[in-house]
């Protein structure tokens, strides 16, 4: 249900490490996007179209942002 998804946008998201500093999130076989550590140590989050979602100081913040963007996009499409 959408209420659950709004309350828990990270539910069902699988995160994987492809290599050190490069992580991909997906849900139900669809990509949320990826998070790529930059040379300065910050984390660049991009959606599945490689559009930048933002630069973050830590991985958790980048994961949260990407998850929220994908959840809101999914709700908007309904």
């Amino acid at each position: 249900m959408s209420t659950v998804e709004v309350d828990r946008p990270g539910a069902g998201v699988v995160w994987a490490r492809v290599e050190d500093g490069f992580h991909v999130g997906s849900r139900g076989g669809e990509f949320l996007g990826y998070i790529d550590r930059q040379r300065d140590g910050r984390w660049l989050a991009c959606d599945l179209y490689s559009r930048e979602v933002g630069l973050f100081a830590d991985l958790t913040a980048a994961m949260k942002a990407l998850t929220l963007v994908e959840a809101s996009e999914r709700l908007r499409r309904r």
Binding site: W15, R17, E19, F22
Partner: protein, 146 residues
Amino acid sequence: MTTELLSILYSSRAAEPFDDDRLRDLLTQSREKNARHDLTGMLLYRGGRFVQVLEGPESTVRDLVATIGADPRHTNMRVLFEEHLEERQFAEWTMGYEPISEPREEKPEAFRDTFDDLEVGDDATATLRAVRELSLWFRVRSSRGQ
């Protein structure tokens, strides 16, 4: 008559470690051959292990996979995934290559490891997801080099 496009992903282990020169030779050889046979794909080499995607006309791909299987430069070849394609996923690469290193850091808690999932064998969903993760990684790395 149309020729179906097939994509096959396999992994194998190098019989001997490949240094940069040997890898370069292998890529040159593969790219020339693939261009002649209308094949595209990507190659990864990590810690003595090859992971390769080959795509093209089905019979050509299957023939090449059989040839590769008999190549003494590697062992333990395993086809991990195959699918028919509507369109190529690596159309721009006769054999794309991006260096990838073995992990040195602890995996973040609760994260999966793409390379582990790739060869899990009994979980088709995890294998397919891993294939797509690697494809995404490859595209991002390739575009960064452009």
